[in-house]
């Protein structure tokens, strides 16, 4: 178990300037054509919108994508076993097996999944094809302000492990759902 990697992203969302580089890089790297459909995206920015009354205003940005949950609710609902978590923590989808029932899309508490035009489910897979070559996901390496740090949480010397050690108040989203997500936010 300890020999397995646990791919993780740590976010310093306070640095996010909502520039959308992560979205476009992801679509290019993974060959996704949204074709104007606003549902088609593997990552997105949660923007609070302008909060407060003029001139005392705040606005914050929080990037998000599939959390590659340790306890993924999307996996057991699939009627054809088209989705599962790999040993390294990344949850994958076999498009050839998927029958397009949309149950996984509906089940995800983070709304990380969407249906493609081919009527199969899709979501972020931490650019598994890049990680296999020792590279970082596209959203990580393209970011102007380095919001995301990617690495193996099982390696105590990794940047992600060190960041989480230095930031004990780091949070995850929707902890009450028991999903054990692998996206951590230090701000």
């Amino acid at each position: 178990m300890a020999n397995n990697k646990l791919w993780t992203i740590v976010f310093d969302a306070d640095k996010c300037i909502d520039c959308k580089a992560c979205d476009v890089a992801c679509k290019r790297e993974n060959g996704i054509n949204a074709n104007g459909n606003q549902d088609v995206r593997r990552n997105w920015i949660n923007a609070t919108g302008v909060v407060g009354t003029y001139p005392n205003l705040k606005k914050s940005f929080q990037p998000e994508q599939c959390h590659q949950c340790g306890n993924p609710p999307c996996v057991p609902v699939c009627p054809v076993d088209a989705t599962w978590a790999k040993d390294d923590g990344v949850v994958v989808i076999d498009k050839d097996v998927c029958i397009g029932c949309t149950l996984c899309v509906l089940e995800c508490p983070y709304e990380a999944r969407y249906m493609t035009e081919n009527n199969t489910a899709d979501k972020c897979d931490f650019c598994a094809h890049r990680v296999a070559e020792g590279k970082e996901p596209a959203c990580v390496d393209t970011c102007p302000t380095r919001v995301r740090v990617f690495g193996d949480l099982n390696d105590p010397n990794s940047a992600v492990a060190k960041l989480l050690k230095a930031n004990p108040n780091a949070k995850v989203l929707h902890p009450e759902r028991g999903t054990k997500p692998n996206l951590h936010y230090i701000s």
Partner: protein, 733 residues
């Protein structure tokens, strides 16, 4: 008129048979490939640099089976800090966009009607030359009757400029006076240069306008927002993304930035917080300035700026006491009539605290020199000065002043302009008061447009010449725009072969030049030597290994960085008339301008009127990108920002259609976006939308155009257009 299938396609019933027969002869595109082609790598990386904005970030282009897949960051390129923004990523699509201009085209209908025929390059050149030579003759041989517009970003603009020079016209119009001419002039007048900013080491930054979270300038944008320990004071009429990230945001009243800066100086000098040793040694005119700013108290400034006096006082104190503090110069300074003097005031605040030529402050840029590209100038006996020569004091001969020039061209004063040659500039969408641009176009006998997309400008031209896409092309190395604190030379090299019948800027110019002669009868192509490959080699001949480094990584650096302190130590001399940092300018006084920035209250805009302000978004570069599908996905339409309280009073909700009308009577129609995030007396909408065509996909006909609503004014010191002097009325539709 419908033609039935069977009638028209001979042998169509034997469609299958037709294909089954060995009509292999006659393949236009397909052939058996050779072993070398088969060995083409499945995945290869080509280093090059982006052309979508002024930063020109270097990337590693991933090409799979000969098709561009993604433009990945180049971590070793210092200025880009190893990132690629949304626009840079979206660039991968651009060579394949079906809307690319693919062939030279000559219009067959009326201008703007959309009727074109495909031409060969020679046909296009001949057509251009015939029309041009005719009007030049009608104008008594004056080449100056042709205006040449262009903007920066490709090395090939140099060749365009060379063509203009050897053709013999002084009328060169670039983008600078739609952008930053006034900030350059303002800073030149005080510190003798337009410097870079050492944001990496800055601890306290005052950002006025300069929406760096959305108007990317590398590495400033990256350094500013990736280190959250920096204190940022944001002055902006809008609650931009920069404002959202700043320590504190003040919705400053437009036109009053000078008041803020003067009040800062009042506090800093009045409380003795300035860097006395620095000012004593390096500045000229301190005593006059100290006396001058006494009147500009924070209490006074509060009435002008809407920023509380106590805040101004505290900011001034903290700014002066924090080491490595900088009042950011900004870039696009085409705001209002007092721009040059406002920027002088900003520069002076920096001087008072010793922030010029110091770490964390303003650093004079350095560049890596390239081998000079030399060409013989052409001589014409009856040359005339450029049209607007008398209208602007510090007129840059290459940049001109667009608004002033257009005014004169419309009146043919002092002489007529008969043609426009436009390279990489979307004139119709970029100049304020679009109606006047169209009026100007109507007066032209010939309009040539070199572009890569069917922009509004190309649409209204007589001849459209397609340039190769930046991903298909070799651009010789240059420092252009990539100078600064960590200078490099960057190159562009092709990721794929050029498609369709497009040519690089150099090839276009050489081809066109053959059709023109100088006064001695030599064709103008004689003035050009070599080609882009040879120019590339020559540019870096003095740096061993540079060419190889550029081919491999996309850039060259010899590790040099901007020195800090050379001016303070006396090693270098300040580039000002007094050879000191000027807090008082005898030069300005001599020209009839204020020797020190002197505040003039902006005119009251009137009740129920709004000032239209312009701004930027991280997903867009001016009018270029709104039609790129992946960027358009994030903003399919632009909407006009109206302050919530104001909108409520007018009965306007988000999504309502409203009409804006400016003082010239120009109107636009656009959907409203009601927000807390803008001053009640201002409105704003994004650039690049709402073209002249109706009912088309993506942006055309969607939203509204900035060029249509902006009134045209310019200031006479630098010639900068004034983009924040547009006053509009709004009513619900």
């Amino acid at each position: 008129m419908s033609i039935t299938r069977r009638k028209f396609l001979k042998g169509s019933a034997a469609g299958l048979g037709c294909l089954g027969m060995s009509s292999v002869a006659g393949f236009r595109y397909v052939s058996k490939s050779h072993a070398e082609e088969l060995a083409a790598q499945k995945v290869k990386y080509v280093a090059s640099s982006c052309a979508i904005c002024t930063n020109k970030c270097v990337f590693r282009g991933q090409v799979v089976n000969g098709v561009i897949k993604r433009l990945e960051p180049q971590p070793e390129f210092a200025k880009g800090r190893g990132m690629m923004c949304a626009r840079g990523n979206a660039g991968a699509w651009t060579p394949y966009d079906p809307n690319r201009v693919k062939y030279p085209m000559i219009r067959t209908g009326k201008r703007g009607e959309g009727k074109w025929k495909k031409a060969t390059w020679d046909e296009a050149y001949a057509y251009i030359a015939e029309k041009t030579n005719k009007v030049v003759e009608e104008e008594g041989g004056h080449r100056s009757c042709i205006g040449f517009a262009s903007s920066e970003g490709t090395y090939h603009e140099h060749y365009w400029n060379q063509f203009r020079t050897v053709f013999g016209s002084p009328n060169s119009l670039r983008h600078a006076t739609l952008c930053l001419s006034s900030v350059i002039r303002g800073f030149m007048a005080v510190v003798g240069t337009y410097p870079s900013v050492d944001i990496k080491n800055s601890k306290y930054i005052i950002l006025a306008g300069a929406d760096r979270a959305e108007a990317f300038i590398t590495p400033d944008t990256i350094d500013m927002f990736s280190d959250r320990s920096k204190k940022i004071i944001c002055l902006d009429p809008r609650f931009t993304r920069t404002a959202a990230k700043a320590t504190k945001w003040y919705p400053i009243k437009p036109g009053t930035d000078m008041a803020f800066a003067l009040a800062m100086m009042n506090v800093i000098i009045g409380e003795g917080l300035h860097d006395k040793a620095y000012v004593d040694k390096h500045a000229y005119g301190f005593d006059q300035l100290a006396q001058h700013v006494k009147q500009y108290t924070p209490e006074w400034a509060e009435k002008e700026t809407d920023i509380p006096a106590q805040d101004i006082r505290e900011i001034a104190r903290e700014f002066a006491k924090t080491p490595n503090a900088v009042y950011y110069p900004g870039r696009r300074s085409s705001w209002q009539g007092n721009d040059v003097e406002t920027r002088r005031a900003v520069a002076m605040v920096n001087v008072l605290v010793g922030s010029f030529d110091r770490e964390g402050g303003l650093i004079p840029s350095v560049a890596i020199p390239t081998g000079k590209y030399f060409y013989e100038p052409a001589w014409y006996t009856n040359s005339r000065p450029r049209l607007e020569e008398d209208d602007v004091t510090f007129l840059n001969p290459r940049d001109g002043s667009w608004v002033a020039w257009r005014e004169r061209a419309l009146k043919s004063d002092p002489y007529a302009i008969r043609g426009l040659y436009i390279y990489k500039q979307n004139v119709v969408a970029s100049l304020p008061n679009r109606n006047k641009t169209m009026e100007l176009f109507d007066k032209m006998d010939i309009i040539v447009c070199v572009d890569t997309f069917m922009s509004d400008t190309a649409w209204h031209a007589d001849v459209v010449l397609p340039e190769t896409n930046y991903l298909e092309r070799l651009d010789p190395p240059n420092g252009y725009g990539v100078n600064g604190i960590e200078p490099t030379l960057t190159i562009r090299q092709p990721l794929i072969k050029p498609m369709y019948d497009t040519r690089s800027g150099f090839e276009i110019v050489i081809g066109l030049a053959k059709y023109f002669e100088d006064e001695d009868g030599f064709t103008l192509d004689e003035y050009f030597e070599g080609d882009v490959e040879s120019h590339t080699k020559d540019a870096v001949a003095e740096y061993p290994g540079a060419l190889e480094m550029m081919k491999e990584k996309g850039f060259f650096t010899d590790g040099r960085t901007a020195p800090v302190g050379d001016y303070l130590s006396g090693k270098k001399i300040f580039n000002t008339p007094t050879k000191k940092l000027e807090l008082y300018s005898d030069d300005f006084k001599g020209r009839g301008f204020d020797p020190m920035p002197t505040y003039k209250k902006p005119a009251d805009i009137g009740a129920n009127k709004f000032r239209f302000v312009v701004g930027r978004h991280a997903i867009h570069t001016q009018s270029m990108t709104a039609n790129f599908p992946e960027l358009n996905w994030h903003m399919p339409e632009n909407t006009v920002w109206i302050n919530s309280a104001k909108a409520k009073g007018m009965g306007i909700k988000s999504g309502d259609m409203v009409k804006l009308k400016n003082r010239d009577g120009a109107e636009v129609q656009i959907n409203a976006q009601v927000t807390e995030g803008i001053r009640p007396d201002c409105v704003y909408y994004a650039n690049g939308y709402g073209s002249l065509s109706k009912g088309q996909p993506l942006v055309y006909g969607k939203g509204a155009s900035q060029a249509q609503i902006l009134e045209a004014h310019f200031e006479p010191i630098s010639g900068n257009a004034l983009m924040h002097e547009t006053i509009v009325e709004i009513r619900k539709v």
